[in-house]
């Protein structure tokens, strides 16, 4: 599989420089400590912790997920990639890399978060797990295709969150809602509409990404 080979190449070059991993790890610590400092000794409500959880996830993903494509442009290797692989293969490889990155990053955030915030108690853990996995998948899909757009545009750093936010908002709003459900111990039966929205979102974004990636990549 060529996309697996591409994924391995990305993994190797990432492990060599550890740019994205370091940036993400530092960003997690920075965002969490900013939130902790700004809260101070206040007791924050349960619903607020659910929302802040996704704030941390959003900003952390915005700091490191654009690397997959931006690094290719910076090294000038995107033309070589165009020669050796079909666009969909390239996209699959990059998507796989970002998926792994998002899952690793968000698991760390979730563990740290539940350790640091006492109000963050999950009464329905299974629901949280399902919504967390679906949300991560959607996050990885959307951020990968936006990263591809960004890598071809001029201003790379600042534009990424600007472009991603409106696209990610349906996912984030629904995920916040699902996290609140999980914290309140709501059953799957009540939450099925929100879960269906997240599944729809994942499918739609994945389809659109594969359809449109050709145009971005050949530009």
């Amino acid at each position: 599989m060529k996309s697996l080979a591409l994924f391995k190449k990305d993994l190797n070059s990432e492990l060599r420089t550890r740019y994205a991993i370091n940036a993400l790890a530092m960003f997690i610590i920075v965002t969490l400590s900013i939130i902790l400092f700004s809260i101070g000794n206040e007791r924050i409500s349960q619903s607020l912790t659910g929302g802040l959880f996704w704030v941390v996830i959003f900003f952390t993903s915005m700091s490191g997920l654009s690397r997959v494509f931006v690094s290719e442009e910076e090294r000038g290797t995107s033309l070589t990639l165009q020669l050796i692989a079909a666009p969909s293969t390239v996209f699959s490889g990059k998507l796989l890399f970002n998926l792994i990155l998002v899952f690793a990053m968000n698991t760390i955030i979730a563990i740290l978060y539940s350790a640091l915030f006492e109000a963050f108690v999950l009464r329905n853990f299974a629901l949280f797990l399902v919504s967390f996995i679906l949300g991560n998948i959607g996050l990885a899909f959307a951020s990968t295709i936006i990263a591809a757009i960004i890598s071809k545009a001029g201003a790379k750093g600042t534009l990424y969150p600007v472009l991603s936010f409106p696209i990610l908002l349906p996912l984030i709003l629904t995920s916040v809602q699902l996290t609140l459900f999980a914290m309140n111990g709501t059953s799957f039966e009540t939450a099925k509409f929100e879960l269906a929205i997240v599944v729809c979102y994942d499918v739609i974004i994945l389809t659109v990404s594969y359809m449109l990636f050709d145009f971005i990549w050949k530009e």
Binding site: I149, A153, I197, Y201, L212
Partner: protein
């Protein structure tokens, strides 16, 4: 020419009728509007606010359609068309947001309360903003057209989540929300015949106005590009000031 005069008269009639016709308990005369519980005198905004919101969506749809067209044919005229549509779209989007906020001040007591409708129009505003930010960051014409087309399509497929799903699952204040017991979905028409008539006339009038403005917009963009290409910019130093 005739249809321009017709449009002028239509919009004049809609503005006068929409503002001046009275709202009464039991409408008898042809010019009287019914009293809708929960909306009262504020109901009149429907003649101006709904068309702007409608045009925001139409403009967004056209941006996406011409983006698809551009990606298929790679004709820069299509890019000009989608650009002109988005330019008008952001204007109508701001108008819809502002008129909605002003109305909300009188109807709900505050300018902004994160009602699902307000959220969705705000997200549309963000999408337009991001789209223009993306365009302004790219120098080359073809690249700009391709990337902004791709982004417009991606944004377009996520918008139904806001416009059609969110307002129906979140509890909202806006007339037509899922839990609205007072006015009911406005589309189920508690309006009487003449109110409906003026509402639809207003919708038609604003839509024609939009298409007229859009035609002028994209033609001027195409002509400007042609002129720029002919001049090949010998006056660069003159533009510095």
């Amino acid at each position: 020419m005739i249809w321009k005069i017709f449009l002028f008269l239509l919009l004049c009639f809609v503005s006068i009728a929409g503002i001046s016709f009275p709202i009464v308990e039991n409408p008898q005369a042809w010019y009287e509007f019914p009293f809708i519980k929960g909306l009262e005198e504020n109901a009149k905004i429907i003649f101006f606010h709904v068309p702007t919101a409608w045009l925001t969506v139409i403009a967004f749809l056209m941006t996406a359609v011409y983006s698809v067209q551009y990606l298929r044919k790679k004709n820069l005229d299509d890019d000009a068309k989608s650009y002109a549509a988005a330019q008008l779209g952001i204007i109508f989007c701001i108008l819809a947001t502002v008129t909605g906020a002003v109305w909300a001040k009188f109807a709900w007591g505050s300018f902004w309360s994160w009602d699902p409708r307000q959220t969705s129009i705000f997200v549309l505003l963000l999408i337009y903003g991001a789209w223009f930010a993306l365009r302004s960051s790219i120098e080359s014409e073809e690249k700009r057209a391709t990337l902004s087309s791709v982004y417009a399509i991606i944004a377009f497929v996520t918008v139904p989540f806001f416009i059609f799903i969110m307002p129906r699952i979140m509890t909202g204040l806006h007339p037509g929300s899922a839990d609205d017991t007072n006015a009911g979905p406005v589309i189920n028409f508690k309006m009487n015949g003449n109110m409906q008539l003026i509402f639809f006339l207003s919708l038609i009038g604003f839509t024609i106005l939009y298409f007229w403005m859009w035609r002028l917009g994209y033609k001027s963009i195409i002509y400007r590009d042609k002129l720029n290409r002919q001049l090949i910019i010998p006056t660069r130093s003159g533009q510095g000031g």
